[in-house]
């Protein structure tokens, strides 16, 4: 078994065994559900909005060649530099070079999952740069040397008490469990860092081709400071983030806020279209835009699953996923957790090592129902399973399902096998639920149903084929 798959088994076992933790995650999300539904109701027609969003994303993703070039042309005309990074290494190298060439020492970052994907912080710190996350949740997990737990809520797994303990230990602050006070502690540290930093790295929620702008949506104002105070702004984005028109934001901004955080709109929505222009009093001297492929074009080549590039990283699919709610974000071992991560990680990092995530689903479809851009998530999990079984079939499963199909297609075998099952059933009862039980994977936690004394087939033959009416 691949390590990644074994790690998932181990971690998911550990997290699901912790009922307190599961209840904590569930409770954290219950407030989100309420707010999300209130805000969905504010849309004239939420389902219609989803259809429209899916159409716009379909247009954008199927014409990336056109829209990315248009975006590049427009933003370059206002003085930004655009770098096309084929992979994570190229993106890291470019950003490192910009930092080195400009004598950068301290870097401030606003929230960007794409930088997690390319492991940017590690690369920068290894070269001696001081890197500080400015999003509160991201800052908390950075202090704990952890990855974000969730795409949108990076520190949702931590209690106020744990955060207070962390701040006491790392920042020497006084203990408190008031969210406002905790925020003020982080804010004091951050304000100093903004002034010290000579480079700000941000993510990007949307890139607008028509106007050559990037759009960042946030609640803390930290992205605005990150992108405007330091003399260099680097914006990192996957190539799928482009939208054709500026007016598309009028749909996508409230939709992202609603699906992602249960908000009408996030507090700060800003568009950036280049570095400081002549005559402007502030803003960065340089703006670099890093367009990351990192195997997204391979997903683009897969017509069946291409719609997964429409993802706006709202995290709505994680929030409704019963797997995510029970195993948490760290079990996945991926940058992008939850259903969308299970779908795209095999494409971004290899099917063989990551196909287990597609198997670890009951295929309930809650994700697909929640997705604002209508990605066919749970059916893509099925397709990943099919592709995985084709590429590297599990020999035991292959034989088992071959036998299964043969049995189901041969009435004599079907009767024989189920007859043997009835004979063996009393023996299984002797070891029910114990280590000797071959059905232990089921019976360890659930009672296994008894086979009926006679199958419906047999009963029907006896009762009906002879023409007798059935009596209860």
């Amino acid at each position: 078994m691949a390590t990644q798959s074994a790690d998932f088994q181990t971690l998911s076992r550990r997290y699901t065994a912790d009922k307190g933790f599961r209840a904590f995650i569930q409770k954290g999300l219950s407030g989100y559900y309420k707010k999300r539904d209130e805000n969905k109701a504010n849309f004239q027609d939420w389902q219609g909005a989803r259809d429209l969003a899916a159409e716009i994303k379909y247009e954008a993703v199927n014409h990336l060649d056109k829209y990315l070039l248009e975006f590049e042309e427009k933003i370059t005309a206002r003085g930004a530099k655009v770098f096309w990074a084929p992979n994570a290494e190229a993106a890291r190298e470019y950003i490192l070079n910009v930092a080195k060439e400009n004598g950068v020492r301290t870097i401030i970052k606003s929230k960007t999952m794409t930088s997690e994907e390319i492991h940017l912080n590690d690369a920068l710190e290894k070269e001696g740069f001081g890197v500080f996350e400015s999003d509160l949740g991201e800052y908390i997990v950075q202090l704990r040397h952890e990855a974000p737990f969730h795409l949108v809520f990076p520190a949702m797994h931590l209690t106020r008490g744990q955060i207070s303990d962390l701040f006491q230990k790392e920042l020497g602050s006084e203990p408190t469990d008031e969210p406002e006070k905790l925020t003020m502690i982080a804010r004091e540290v951050m304000r100093r860092k903004y002034c010290e930093a000579d480079m700000g790295i941000s993510g990007t929620n949307f890139a607008v081709a028509e106007t050559g702008m990037i759009s960042i949506t946030e609640n803390e104002g930290n992205a605005r400071l990150t992108t405007s105070l330091p003399k260099i702004h680097v914006a990192l984005l996957g190539i799928e983030k482009v939208l054709p028109k500026l007016e598309d934001l009028s749909l996508f901004l409230p939709m992202l806020a609603t699906a992602g955080a249960g908000q009408t709109m996030t507090c700060y929505n800003t568009m950036y279209s280049g570095p400081r222009q002549p005559g402007e009093p502030d803003g960065p001297e340089q703006m670099h835009v890093v367009l990351l492929d990192n195997r997204r074009t391979e997903l683009l080549a897969d017509a069946e699953q291409r719609d997964a590039l429409g993802c706006i990283r709202c995290g709505a699919c994680l929030n409704v996923c019963p797997i995510f709610k029970n195993v948490g974000g760290y079990s996945y071992g991926t940058t992008y957790g939850g259903p969308i991560g299970s779908v795209i990680t095999p494409h971004l990092r290899g099917l063989k090592d990551w196909k287990h995530l597609s198997a670890a689903s009951s295929l309930c479809g809650a994700c697909t129902e929640a997705c604002p851009v209508k990605i066919d998530l749970h059916h893509h999990l099925l397709q990943n399973r099919r592709n995985g079984a084709k590429d590297s079939p599990n020999p035991v499963e292959k034989i088992a399902f071959g036998g299964f199909s043969l049995m189901m297609g041969t009435p004599v075998l079907y009767r024989l096998a189920t007859g043997i099952g009835r004979l063996l059933q009393p023996l299984q009862k002797l070891v029910n639920g114990t280590i000797l039980d071959p059905l232990r994977a089921w019976t360890g936690s659930r009672q296994f149903p008894a086979l009926a004394p006679k199958s419906f087939h047999e009963q029907w033959r006896k009762e009906r084929t002879k023409g007798k009416p059935w009596k209860k």
């Binding site: 019963p322 071959g402 009435p411 994977a441 089921w442 659930r446 199958s455």
Partner: protein, 238 residues
Amino acid sequence: MRISLFVPCFVDQLYPKVAWSVVSVLEELGHEVLFPESQSCCGQPPFNSGYWDEARSAARVTMKAFRDSEVVVGPSGSCVTMIKVFYPDLFKGEPDELEARELAAKTHEFSSFLVNVLGVTDVGAKFEGKVTFHDGCHSLRELGIKSEPRALLANVKGLELVEMCEAETCCGFGGTFAVKYAPISTAMDEVKCASILETGAGTVVSNDSSCLMQIRGMLEKEKSSIRSLHLAEILASR
């Protein structure tokens, strides 16, 4: 109407009473029920596990069994979904794609058939007690069945329906997932059972025996007094 009964393999082996209940309800309404005996399994287990060649050979047996049927009705949202939603995908580009599509079109889940095809919501059933209804995911999200079982339950004399807050949350069965990832499946089952318990209902009802196997498995293990019954069993109660 001449109705061909589709009995999923595990209902055949574990819960024949569910299939008889369907027979009883349909006959009570004056229809003729046929049971094509060469049927076995719809092929969902290999399909869900990614083994589509093996799934096709099982599916072909089902397709052959119902070739001459006018209309096919099954008491399982999940197995009907396999035929209705996934056969067209599974046979895409295969020589028997058309046959798969024809079977998909004439196959119906039991509650949806009663309400949407026969236009019946009152089958004259009686059942004393408070029940809660679990929406199977395939039934709910693949077939869009939500109001149909509730409309039928609303007309059962003596029955009081109480909705659980997690009615639409997966019970954690998911076929082979239930044993491949038993701890996750069990955790999901715990959430579901806690939600059932909260309603104070004496019986949990669903239109899918596979979900009920998962739910019942935990309720029995916990020695709960809550019963679990298939919708057809309630509708066949007099």
